[in-house]
Amino acid sequence: MAAARRKTTEFLIATEKCVGCLECQMRCSVVHHRVFNPQLANIRVTPAKNGASYYTIAYLDSCLKCGSCVRACSFGTLVFGASEGPA
């Protein structure tokens, strides 16, 4: 299963479920840099500002598609795409 996950190229993002806890960014930074630092994460959750609702969620080009962020999300905002996992 781990190999299949590494091949996954799609994460599905349900922006409306995001609550801004930043667990995904913290997980990404600790997995890849061994430090809790959202500024080093390959996923960026930007809070609602200037009257706009919800968050914007974006992946940087440096994302390795490891899926750590998806596993850290407990609100169902990030989920693996259909290609994830064994057939």
């Binding site: 930043l22 913290m26 061994r34 959202p38 500002k49 609702s53």
Partner: protein, 639 residues
């Protein structure tokens, strides 16, 4: 200065607003072991840095902001960051908690922020890692919190900055003004914003890029798996995540905990549920949930009024249940859109919802009894959204009689005299959120022992809901570190008080100690978070994340040390058990709750329970004062 290996940065940033200078001081290993973090670091420093007897609104007052030991890590629900100063509302130690500020502060490289002195003109403090700047806030002074926050977000865009700001109420030194963080999360209760206002401090902007390392990643990962499993198997989680604290609205309404006319009558539960309950909340104002850092619950919310006079209003709530308690019940707002409107106004001006609601019913009674003439109130005594909105504006802007009301309960009593004194319900100058006549659990007794006056976050326990069974209570005793051989001293038939089955006086000591220790770690007091952690798990997290080698007894003992240090601050101010006054309404008046007339609490019962509480603490019972032996045992003798 060496950086610590764990998630403590070991650094405190000290900013002197008078001199416009800053420096970094070390937080030593002994302090980390004795006080754990955040709220713990603040307690002894408040005693050392805030001179006795000062005016809380003078430059001598000190602002201490401490991030929890686990704050800034991925440990779930551990964002709590405490602000401390001498409270301008109560004259006691003033403390308040938020779920923001601490994480970015630690990512910037600081466990604690210390602010002293007074700026010569309005300013805001910018902390971006090692870049510290005291900036001119002339253009922001007079603006409300939402406008201030938006301006500062825009100014530092596209960086993801955290903005803590005060509104006009804080600038005008209203003694129950609050600080709002990122337009949502509060440092409420006790008038912390007035302390900022007195220092000409409009806002703090924080951004951190340094991050936090932890001591043992493998152990941390194992612990996180255990916590995650508990979160995902919690059957109440989905509802908490959707409607937040409104989960408890119906329970509180049925208990009679929501007063509608200055503590004489409880809200009709049927009306409360139909008009303000979860279904109405979903349909009328809830838009989405908002989380503090690392929280798997997300009990805060963005509100959007869907229909009616306030249609389109968009605002945030830190705790919609509290907004309903004090606007739907006390202020008698007509519906949830009106609650949202009042919450929005209080957020923008920077006022404490609890105090505004309690003040609204009090003013209404003073007006009904002819103590305040109608002309002085300009409609502010009217029940409903318009009256309460007028009251908020008068207080925040100190208009007319609002100038008196803004000075808090002690000043209000002094102004209106004896006739008004028996009508005021407050403890040491802070109006409480809980009603002890319907349920005398630890939180209802804890409002009398809480170092910051009539609030009881540190006293929240399973007794918040009445009718727990002896076996449940006995199990709970174990969770707060009471050894099995002593449980019989706590849970027994005929225990004093309406709760029965458990001696809430004795239990309160242990609840406060554990909650204080958890708070020092950053763990939120909301039940779905608090119950995720046993004391042993907290010990293990502290070892894995912060590298602290402690026993579970050490962890709880740190909480005892924190409560004791905060109490020492009050004792130094001459505030001890002899100066405690039980609100007249609670000891002399019945509460109408539907067809029931709930009797007052016997003053002797309050005193019996407090005797038991202080005896359990091992303190001098008559004075509520730690003995020299106890201070030595807690390694606090130097304080």
């Amino acid at each position: 200065m060496a950086k610590k290996s764990g998630c403590h940065t070991g650094r405190a940033l000290e900013v002197d607003l008078s001199r416009g200078a800053w420096s970094v001081r070390e937080i030593d290993d002994e302090t980390r072991h004795l006080f754990l973090g955040g709220a713990g670091f603040n307690a002894p420093l408040a005693l050392k840095m805030i001179p006795p007897g000062i005016d809380p609104l003078s430059p001598e007052n000190v602002i201490l902001i401490g991030a929890g030991a686990l704050t800034g890590t991925e440990a779930m629900g551990t964002p709590k960051t405490e602000i401390v100063s001498k409270s301008p509302l109560t004259g006691t130690i003033g403390t308040a908690l938020t779920g923001h500020v601490g994480a970015p502060l630690k990512w910037a490289g600081y466990d604690q922020l210390i602010i002293t002195g007074r700026a010569s003109s309005p300013c805001y403090l910018r902390i971006f890692d090692n870049e510290i700047e005291i900036c001119d806030a002339g253009d922001l002074w007079g603006e409300d919190i939402y406008a201030t926050t938006e301006t500062l977000w825009q100014r530092y865009s596209p960086l993801e900055t955290t903005v803590a700001a005060i509104g006009q109420a804080g600038e005008n030194l209203v003694r129950f003004s609050l600080i709002l963080i990122n337009k949502c999360s509060t440092w409420g209760r006790g008038g912390q914003a007035a302390v900022w206002g007195s220092k000409n401090l409009k806002a703090i902007v924080v951004h951190g890029t340094q991050g936090l390392k932890i001591a043992d990643q493998r152990a941390f990962k194992r612990l996180l798996k255990t916590t995650t499993d508990k979160v995902m198997s919690d059957r109440s989680r989905d509802l908490w995540s959707e409607v937040g604290t409104m989960v408890t609205w119906e329970i509180y309404a049925r208990m009679g905990n929501l007063h509608v006319d200055n503590w004489d009558t409880a809200i009709d539960p049927k009306y409360a549920v139909e008009r303000f309950g979860i279904e109405a909340y979903r349909a009328q104002t809830r838009k989405r949930s908002i989380a503090c850092y690392s929280c798997p619950i997300a009990c805060k919310a963005e509100l959007e009024v869907k229909e009616g006079r306030f249609a389109g209003l968009n605002t945030n709530t830190s705790c919609n249940m509290v907004a309903c308690m004090f606007y739907a019940a006390a202020a008698q707002a007509e519906g949830l859109p009106e609650v949202a409107k009042l919450n929005d106004l209080a957020n923008r001006f920077g006022l404490d919802n609890i105090s505004v609601g309690n003040l609204a019913v009090y003013v209404r009674e003073l007006h009904a009894k002819g103590i305040i003439p109608s002309g002085d109130l300009n409609g502010a005594a009217q029940p409903g959204v318009d009256g309460a909105a007028r009251l908020i504006e008068m207080v925040a802007l100190r208009q007319g009689i609002g100038d008196v009301l803004a000075n808090g309960w002690h000043a209000i009593e002094a102004h209106f005299g004896d006739a008004a004194k028996d009508l005021a319900v407050h403890i040491r100058g802070m109006d409480p959120p809980f009603e002890p006549r319907t349920n005398l659990g630890t939180e209802n007794l804890g409002i009398f022992t809480c170092p910051r006056g009539g609030h009881a976050t540190a006293a929240l326990s399973m007794t918040v809901v009445p009718g727990r069974k002896p076996e449940q209570l006995a199990k709970y005793c174990g969770l707060v570190g009471i050894p099995p051989e002593r449980v019989g001293e706590f849970v027994y038939e005929g225990a004093p008080g309406s709760y029965g089955a458990v001696n809430v006086g004795r239990l309160l000591k242990h609840v406060e100690d554990v909650n204080a220790a958890y708070t020092a770690c950053g763990i939120c007091s909301r039940p779905p978070i608090n119950r995720l952690y046993t004391i042993e798990e907290v010990r293990d997290y502290l070892a894995a994340a912060a590298g602290l080698e402690l026993s579970s007894e050490d962890v709880k003992r740190a909480g005892e040390r924190i409560i004791t240090a905060l109490t020492l601050f009050n004792l130094r101010e001459g505030i001890d058990r002899s100066t405690l006054r039980f609100p007249h309404k609670w000891i002399a008046k019945t509460l109408k709750h539907g067809d029931l007339e709930v009797p007052p609490v016997d003053e002797a019962l309050f005193n019996t329970l407090l005797d038991d509480y202080y005896a359990e603490r091992g303190w001098n019972v008559a004075e509520g004062r730690p003995t020299p032996e106890k201070l030595a045992e807690l390694q606090l003798a130097a304080l």
